[in-house]
């Protein structure tokens, strides 16, 4: 389990995701080593760290896309594949294959693909949530980067998952679209109880939004409430040559 010196945040709700002694290596190179933490239902976790810190790998391990070499991951007590057999996890990968933008697929068709049994109300709900009703008949290739991001987020949410994993969701979108996105995520977390895990380099933004922050650099650096974690002493462990909060100096 997580070393007590890392446990800054008091965890009170039911555990949702438990990661125990997880190590993942590929081609003999360790990507993640001895990762231990537990997050609770309703958590809004920001995962930060430098490039190559293993942030995306962690999300892929939680999804069961790759398996750990050591240790185990449990989602509500189940292995990821068992959990996914019961219900989906909302996921926004860092990159989507470009082929999809060469085909004439509309926003509505993309969102509909996220649910097994079509329900007009559910599709409308997901599309309205991201305020993209005017785009529903548009082809994905006609959309801007921010609009595509919203369409894929609507797809991730249409099955009403209890867990949402987002890999750098604010990359490539303008400040207005970013604010809209943050507002929606907050609403999903507070009003719908969706547990959110966000991998991000946008530390300043998610310092305000998330309830807790996990600092990762192949190993766990720290985990806790943003105001207690986002200090230069911790940031130096992640970014030794960079000042993350210059205004505080």
């Amino acid at each position: 389990m997580l070393n007590e010196k890392f446990r800054i945040l008091e965890l009170t709700k039911k555990p949702l995701i438990t990661i125990s002694n997880v190590t993942y290596a590929t081609n003999g190179i360790k990507i993640l080593e001895d990762i231990n933490f537990e997050i609770n239902q309703g958590c809004y976790l920001g995962i930060i760290g430098p490039n190559g810190a293993g942030k995306t790998t962690l999300l892929r391990l939680i999804l069961g896309i790759i398996k750990p070499n050591l240790g185990e991951i449990r989602i509500q007590g189940l292995a990821p594949d068992e959990y996914l057999n019961r219900e989906p996890i909302g996921y926004l990968p860092q990159r989507i294959s470009q082929t999809i933008y060469e085909m004439p697929i509309t926003v509505e068709e993309l969102v509909r693909s996220g649910i097994d049994k079509y329900s007009r109300d559910t599709v409308d709900w997901a599309i309205d949530l991201f305020k993209i009703s005017s785009l529903r008949k548009k082809s994905l290739k006609e959309l801007s980067g921010g609009e595509r991001q919203k369409a894929f987020l609507a797809r991730a949410l249409v099955a009403k998952p209890r867990i949402l994993l987002l890999d750098e969701p604010t990359t490539g979108i303008d400040p207005n679209a970013r604010d809209d996105l943050l507002e929606i995520l907050e609403k999903l977390n507070k009003e719908f109880g969706v547990s959110i895990l966000v991998v991000t380099h946008d530390i300043a933004t998610f310092a305000h939004e998330s309830k807790c922050i996990l600092c990762l650099n192949k190993r766990m650096v720290c985990l806790g409430e943003p105001q207690r974690i986002l200090k230069e002493e911790y940031m130096k462990l992640l970014y030794p040559t960079h000042t993350v909060f210059p205004h505080r100096l």
Binding site: P93, S97, G114
Partner: protein, 265 residues
């Protein structure tokens, strides 16, 4: 004009084309989405080998075709998913092996005259027994498409997204590879080993020029495929051009028409 419908080979050709013409572009859409159009070519060339083997050994060619195509498609998918060979590399290996061995068996069989119909399709090579096998194969493929089309779409959009939706990717890929093999096998005698890919790929490509949604692309590509195939039967009968080539020529015309239409929209 009417007299051609009294011929058994023409009746059979219309029945077979009515079964394979709607199927081929539906699989073609998924192959294009997965950037896997080369897969159809590889299986078609393996089909060439199966037909060459059946000429050499005097076996039921369609049954051999289905069995060999299934074995190769599953092998390619396994090699691809387990990363044992690069995807393009494994496809090329089977494609060239298929062609080389086909030429070898056809040469030894002494029936080199059958090469044209194997490569470019024919109105006359489909037997009465073949029609029943093609019907069973087509039903199998249609059932797959009805049951799995949404999962296939997810797989084509993004494998990791599909996984997060709870889709068992390895099973789905195997079933897809198997069904593509069946769909190609039942079409190959009509379209020919070199041209079956055209019936799968050109109709969706043509439709994509003028459509904005996957739904309209699907509907239009099936319409293009059926009309071109029917027209191809007439062209083949009256001109003597092999059936696969006739259908492909008309499909090329359809593509050019759609492309020009796009420019003026």
């Amino acid at each position: 004009m009417i007299e051609i419908f009294e011929l058994n080979i023409i009746k059979r050709a219309f029945i077979v084309v009515s079964l394979i013409a709607p199927l081929a572009p539906l699989f073609g859409i998924f192959l294009i989405l997965r950037r896997y159009a080369f897969f159809a070519d590889t299986l078609a060339h393996v089909g060439f080998l199966a037909l060459a083997l059946s000429v050499f050994f005097g076996l039921n060619s369609l049954l051999l075709l289905i069995v060999l195509s299934i074995i190769v498609s599953l092998s390619v998918e396994q090699l691809r998913s387990k990363g044992k060979l690069p995807a393009e590399g494994s496809l090329s290996f089977f494609l060239y092996s298929g062609v080389a061995l086909s030429v070898l068996f056809i040469t030894f069989s002494g029936k080199t005259g059958s090469v044209m119909s194997i490569l470019f399709g024919s109105l006359s090579t489909v037997t009465k027994e073949d029609v029943y096998l093609i019907l069973i194969g087509a039903i199998f493929c249609f059932v797959f498409l009805i049951k799995y089309h949404k999962k296939m779409l997810n797989l084509c959009i993004d494998e990791e997204l599909a996984h997060s939706s709870g889709i068992n990717l390895s099973n789905l890929k195997v079933i897809f590879a198997l069904t593509v093999a069946v769909s190609i096998s039942i079409s190959i005698k009509t379209m020919g080993a070199l041209l079956i890919g055209s019936l799968m790929i050109i109709p969706p490509l043509s439709a994509m020029q003028i459509t904005k949604s996957l739904r309209t692309t699907t509907i239009l590509s099936v319409i293009y495929s059926i009309l071109s195939s029917y027209a191809g039967i007439f062209l083949s009968y009256y001109s003597g051009i092999p059936l696969g080539a006739s259908i492909s020529v008309i499909l090329i015309g359809v593509f050019i028409f759609s492309f020009i239409l796009k420019l003026f929209r």
